[in-house]
Symmetry: C2
Subunit: 536 residues, 2 copies
């Protein structure tokens, strides 16, 4: 269907950059170490990249893969690739070489941009990446060009800084494909459309309260849901992007102070390491810092610890399939006067659909009937709206399963509170069924986080001859503490129904994904080696 252009404009997040280059030509757009580029310079580099790609034959529907940390080329790709109607595939830099090869081949990527630190992820498999026509080395930490191809800056100079036409004729055209770093099975390619990216990008900025004075630090990987669409939303507001190659607390606090960072996003594990570092170094934030967290339900204690150093936490919840956040724990002014721990508990809920998301429910996954709004009955979180993926790339079967009943099925179990706020209890496959009773591992973890010696924790089911399965806690302790297993179990029994307390405690590090999610399946697999665990 075609409309007159006077009153119909295809929604595309690429257009935010065109506007910001016009409105804020000489304002700082992208900061990275000593590099400082204005919005006009940012736009000109994007045009160079886009026109260079076109010269190399990349066009509508072609896939362009990037293996790159949160540095300026990664941000530039988010505009240049979709701008010419092509599709950006931003690959998780912490995957294995096998997984990366799978994704490059599955996505049929025609071009491959690789930060030279991560060249090892593709060097050996290059001959098998049949569709890749050319490779570009992104030389950031050194000038090395380990792969056969130009460096990124040389590639840009093949292009032209003049405005490149935006070739998006249908707002439901694919803009990016983000492969889920699935905890099990092969990665699936989640297709994002321009309309959803546009709406999600501005919707999140409305929730987060950014404006043209905001300074945003890139602690969240851009390869994760295109940075929850902040790659586009920050540009929409004319705010400043601060790139960050390595997400370590020391670096974060230094840049927050130096650049006057006002906003950042991070998974709860990053918050845990930040607050541990802040405690150790007696850090108090000098200016307000807004933090959006998602990726796993943060324990109330984690929220309180961060607010203690002066940050304000907004919790959101979503998945790759819904462009990142779909719900927000919308703060109610009537909660202002609650005691600190009750406030933290409210903040630990996953909340309500955000303004542009609209639709979310907790349902019985069989009947699709909404569960009772009692804060107790568990069901599956389902969503719909403009911020739901088009489907999984070249995987109609998985798409059909995910969209059963015309809702997107999250695979997350939650309760619905009487005030319409949801609270995630577990992933479907994580919940423990012990003697017929459900035990939410999140609930047990939240109690464990209250223990003064515990820094981080994961609870998983382990086999039990009597109860079928029982909870076991994997614990990371704070520096210079040495709590005993018995003491921790006793602590849980004080704060929980006794059957929910872990039977076993193991001390040590936790396995994590690139985005900081704890990989419970790895802990579980070890415990269940050689046995079958029944999962819904």
């Amino acid at each position: 269907m075609s409309y007159p252009s006077v009153n119909h404009d295809v929604l595309s997040p690429v257009k935010f950059l065109v506007r910001s280059a016009m409105v804020f030509p000489d304002k700082e757009a992208v900061i990275y170490g000593d590099q400082r580029r204005t919005y006009l310079q940012f736009y000109e580099r994007v045009n160079r990249l886009a026109s260079a790609l076109k010269k190399r034959g990349i066009g509508k529907g072609d896939k362009v893969a990037f293996i790159c940390p949160n540095i300026p080329p990664m941000l530039e790709a988010h505009y240049a690739v979709p701008m010419i109607g092509a599709v950006l595939v931003s690959i998780n830099i912490r995957l294995s070489a096998n997984e990366v090869a799978y994704i490059v081949n599955h996505s049929e990527a025609k071009a491959l941009f690789v930060d030279n630190e991560f060249a090892g992820l593709v060097a050996a498999s290059l001959p098998e990446l049949k569709k890749v026509g050319f490779v570009v080395n992104i030389c950031d930490i050194s000038a090395d060009k380990p792969l056969d191809g130009p460096d990124y800056e040389a590639f840009l100079s093949e292009g032209d800084p003049d405005p490149v036409e935006i070739e998006v004729s249908d707002e439901r055209q694919v803009a990016t494909i983000n492969y889920t770093s699935g905890t099990t099975g092969l990665p699936k390619g989640v297709m994002y459309h321009h309309r959803g990216a546009y709406l999600n990008a501005i919707g999140e900025q409305m929730e987060f309260g950014t404006n043209a004075r905001s300074v945003y630090l890139w602690t969240l990987p851009m390869f994760h849901c295109n940075g929850w669409c902040f790659t586009w939303g920050i540009t929409a507001m004319g705010a400043t992007h601060v790139c960050l190659r390595k997400v370590v607390p020391e670096e974060i606090f230094k840049i927050v102070a130096e650049e006057g960072v006002t906003h950042l996003c991070a998974a709860p594990t990053i918050l845990i390491s930040m607050s541990a570092y802040a405690t150790e170094h007696s850090i108090q934030l000098e200016k307000p810092l807004e933090i959006m967290t998602a990726g796993a339900p943060p324990a109330p204690t984690v929220i309180q610890n961060m607010e203690h150093i002066g940050a304000n936490i907004t919790q959101t919840y979503g998945l790759t399939e819904v462009f990142g956040p779909h719900s927000v724990c919308q703060w109610q002014s009537k909660w202002d006067s609650l005691p600190a721990d009750e406030r933290a508990q409210r903040k630990a809920r996953q909340g309500v659909p955000f303004i542009i998301a609209h639709y979310m429910d907790v349902v019985d996954p069989e009947t699709m009937e909404p569960v009772s709004r009692d804060g107790k009955t568990m069901g599956e979180v389902v969503m719909r709206g403009n911020n739901v993926m088009l489907g999984y790339y070249n995987d109609p079967e998985a798409t059909e399963i995910a969209f059963k009943g015309d809702w997107f099925h999250s695979g997350d179990l939650a309760v619905m509170h009487p005030d319409n706020y949801i609270q995630i209890m577990d992933r479907k496959k994580d919940i423990i069924i012990s003697g017929g009773e459900n035990i939410s591992t999140v609930e047990v973890e939240n109690v464990l986080y209250k223990h003064p010696d515990i820094m981080e924790v994961a609870v998983v089911p382990v086999p039990d001859p009597k109860w079928g399965e029982v909870p076991k806690a994997f614990v990371v302790t704070r520096p210079n503490t040495r709590p005993s297993a018995e003491e921790i179990i006793a602590f849980c029994k004080e704060h929980l129904a006794r059957f929910k307390a872990p039977k076993y405690i193991e001390f040590g590090e936790l396995p994590k994904t690139a985005t900081g999610k704890i990989q419970k399946f790895k802990l579980r697999e070890k415990e269940w080696a050689g046995r079958n665990r029944m999962v819904n």
Copy 2:
């Protein structure tokens, strides 16, 4: 075209209310005097109105006209009418009975809701309003029912508070028709679509920085561009609407203090009367108050006066045809350190297209070529985007003229500054051509506003045997001042090229439209009685 509902949701501003009723059920949504209604109550009343309309046979495409000041029923109509696929026609309460009859007939309204204070506007012409099937009396200041029909509350009780299905299958469906209070000619019906209303509503909130804690005062008429789409945007944010029947400074300052108003919108004339009142009563605002102004270019002095009492002014610019504001004078942080008068001058520019608006230019109206970006060359402001009307209702010829070259032609003359900010110089028909030189009446007025004794002013061309036309100023003086015409003319010659100074000064009140725009055409007509004035 039909899409799967899992990942495609028709954009409609009605949906903001459905979400806010779920997220903020017990939060104050609408305050009016002693009336305080929560979002759930607001939604229930909207459902009652929608279902009552359906029972009376109102459905898709039917027009429902309201003649009503800024009280809760007017706000409720903005949801209930478009919700059932019908079209809201909100009529300016300051029009003449003839104009109202013309609009009711031209829009083919099937139902008519009339605030009983304004019953006189339709009482005599009712027999001629052929399509009107029924009339409802809105009884606010009294229980009188001057027209033959139920009162509004009785009508609501015909309906049902349960959720009514939103019957919008195409986001480009007409949601409202707003008749321009055209300064000349017959009113034209500007058709707003759901998509544009949704995007414009949230786009403006992003620019204005509202959130769920904001309290918005209804100083801007809802019948003017549906209150610049704030009828929907304030609800989207879960903020609070404060209704206001009579827009007088005393009432405004009282409510701002009592209800903790954080945001309001108003034409510059309202700001002039507010600052005059504040000066007279030594009022200083206790809390920050954000004011969005548009409707006419405000003089820098007017902005400074308001900021002096503690308000922050954001200037926007637009027209009925673009859903209200299209551009915003986006503040640049680099301007923070400018002296106060220079800051006010920056703020007096009409600026850049706002985030969701994207496209605006100043062009030679003949060639459609952009004018030189020199801050001097005048051209016509043209716009396009999702916030442009579908066209004029039942007037394809006027629509074709307005959309010439696939741009919307504003009829406003402006210059483009080198930094891409536009500045309105005049309406096409207002600009003075004196001895072949253009004189911007806005420029002359801005100088006059600097005169300490002048409260309000309008400059128009008057015939002159030598120069063709010359400027004449109509002046409202401040209380207890009595400047002479000579003194004012001398003041202008000090601050302007001499040929731009008015030749004549006349003291007295200024004629205004319902939305506070000065009706220069009335002043002009008087001066040009019996003569022909050439206009481009």
